[in-house]
């Protein structure tokens, strides 16, 4: 089965297809207006709560972790802006694939003349672009009105930040893709997914910058792929990472994105064999 599909895959699926898929996903998420508004409010509320707790901490320990108070508060607002964009909680294409596994539609997807992994990556990038615009900008604006934020003036920093967010979404996709593929073996990937959320929340720097983690836990967190989700883009935006550190940060993200994408391909190849065995 797989062999029969390969030649078609090579023919179809030019860049135009993926652009159209991503644009379709963007439009799809843009139709959930009330849900987006409600989510934006929730991100803003949490931004306020966490900003106050960070202010209290930095009031007690000015300059903690190498961040000044404005940088620390900005870190919180940016992490709220990125939470849904990089899907720290999971979701996005993951929900769709899980549903299609449940109904069996996944078998159709696997034999489409478009690359399975590339297709879902494109939908996830489209989704992320919408969430960055909708759920990223408004909470950040609210934060900027209420708090003294340290946002960069230089367009170069913003460009580096956007590139870093793109890589963050790709790393997040790679992780969620592996989680969702466990469904081929476990039949119900909810449990694995729940564990993945815990790890992602903690090791992404979402709850607390991992620069504040003690000793070995800190070095471990900095080396794991989840650091690519929140910590690195936020550090770039608040200019905690500049120059060489900025370049190594992006390289770190790129390396994990590539490694996870390759691991996903390998796992997919094994999973497809499993599907064929079951079907036959």
């Amino acid at each position: 089965m797989v062999n029969a599909v390969v030649p078609e895959r090579r023919e179809g699926g030019g860049p135009a297809v993926y652009r159209a898929v991503a644009a379709g996903a963007f439009r799809r998420y843009a139709t959930y207006r009330a849900a987006t508004a409600a989510g934006t409010v929730t991100n803003t509320v949490f931004g306020f709560i966490l900003a106050y707790t960070f202010l209290a901490l930095w009031h007690a320990r000015p300059g903690l972790g190498g961040y000044d108070t404005a940088q620390a508060v900005t870190y919180i607002w940016i992490s709220q802006a990125l939470l849904v964009t990089v899907a720290v909680w999971g979701g996005g294409f993951q929900d769709d694939v899980q549903e299609r596994m449940r109904t069996g539609d996944i078998a159709v997807d696997l034999h489409r003349p478009v690359d399975f992994q590339g297709w879902w990556l494109a939908t996830d990038l489209g989704r992320a672009a919408f969430h960055l615009l909708a759920r990223g900008t408004l909470p950040t604006l609210a934060g900027a009105l209420a708090f003294d934020l340290s946002l960069p003036r230089s367009p170069l920093v913003w460009a580096a930040f956007l590139l870093s967010v793109l890589l963050a979404v790709t790393v997040s996709f790679g992780l969620r893709f592996l989680v969702v593929l466990t469904g081929f073996w476990l039949h119900d990937s909810e449990g694995v997914r729940a564990v993945a959320v815990v790890v992602a929340m903690f090791f992404s720097g979402m709850l607390l910058p991992i620069t504040l983690f003690p000793g070995r836990l800190g070095s471990l967190a900095a080396a794991l792929p989840w650091a690519a989700l929140i910590q690195i883009p936020a550090d770039i935006l608040v200019r905690h990472r500049t120059g060489t550190a900025l370049a190594t940060g992006l390289a770190f993200q790129l390396a994990w994105a590539a490694a996870l994408f390759a691991a996903g391909r390998l796992a997919l190849a094994l999973a497809v064999r499993k599907v064929v065995v079951q079907g036959g």
Binding site: A34, A38, T42, Y52, R61, E190, G191, A194, F202, F213
Partner: protein, 285 residues
């Protein structure tokens, strides 16, 4: 509406009988969902472990913060443990019993709410028990552990009223959060997709209460006393138990007023639910 029609031949039951009926319906449905979730045992165990770990993360963050400081907003780690334990316990208990009400918007959209309305059991009890899951025990269990640690570590001169206030605040806090879950979900009758909005009230509220009131702006603290009455969950009674001055300078009576706030919250949530059900048009199926 539908449930009343079905009950017409008999006398209109007393509120007490109706409450017992609701609890009984909830119990039957929760039991059914528990048996069904146990059929995927590996997944259930993983989910329970993940639930325990997720809820522990907030406190892990607090502990990590205290590696860098001795006090936060002037409060010590055991004192924050008390706030964390009480807030998370109340939220977790409310979530265990009525948290499924979250999905009201989905039930309205898919028309499954109509099915519940024609069954001879109170719709609210059914909505709260549908997809009941014991893995939600993770949060109250972990919160109780932190609270237990805090109570043995914190420096408090234990008097009778302070001791009594602890179970009172846990019970009232759970009722207040349960009312917020139901009241917040009811908004989905008018604003179907906005389910996430109520998370600002419930999960957001619980996060606020995990930190001392001195951390936040006075307006926000005043809002939790006179607006959405979160302060009655733990802040106000905690001021008395831990012997802390009130940053708002309210009369002492407020520190004992949690039962009043809880009753008012339950009534308000009940009224909202009835108004929502009356405004509900049905899925037309």
């Amino acid at each position: 509406m539908a449930e009343q029609t079905l009950l017409l031949p008999a006398e209109r039951p007393s509120p007490w009988t109706r409450l017992r009926g609701a609890v009984h319906a909830w119990w039957l449905m929760a039991g059914m969902w528990t048996r069904s979730s146990m059929s995927y045992r590996t997944s259930f165990t993983l989910m329970l472990a993940a639930n325990l770990a997720t809820t522990s993360l907030d406190f892990a963050v607090v502990v990590l913060m205290f590696r860098h400081t001795d006090t936060l907003g002037g409060w010590t780690l055991p004192e924050l443990g008390f706030l964390y334990g009480t807030s998370a316990f109340a939220l977790g208990t409310a979530n265990l019993f009525v948290g499924s009400v979250d999905a009201l918007g989905t039930r309205i959209r898919t028309g499954t709410l109509d099915t519940m309305l024609v069954r001879p059991a109170p719709a609210l009890a059914q909505v709260c028990a549908e997809r009941f899951s014991l893995r939600r025990l993770g949060r109250p269990v972990q919160a109780a552990a932190v609270l237990g640690w805090s109570l043995t570590t914190v420096h408090v001169h234990w008097t009778a009223d302070r001791i009594l206030l602890v179970p009172v605040l846990l019970a009232c806090g759970s009722l207040i959060f349960a009312s917020l879950f139901v009241g917040g979900a009811t908004l989905q009758f008018w604003w179907g997709e906005a389910g996430e909005l109520q998370h600002s009230l419930t999960y957001g509220g619980a996060t606020v209460l995990q930190y001392p009131p001195t951390v936040f702006a006075k307006e926000l603290v005043a809002g939790t006393v006179f607006g959405i009455p979160l302060a009655f969950v733990n802040w106000l009674p905690a001021l008395h138990i831990l012997g802390r001055p009130d940053p708002l300078g309210l009369p002492t009576a407020f520190q004992y007023a949690s039962p009043v706030a809880a009753v008012l919250c339950v009534l308000a949530a009940g009224l909202l639910w009835r108004a929502g059900l009356r405004a509900y048009q049905g899925a037309g199926s």
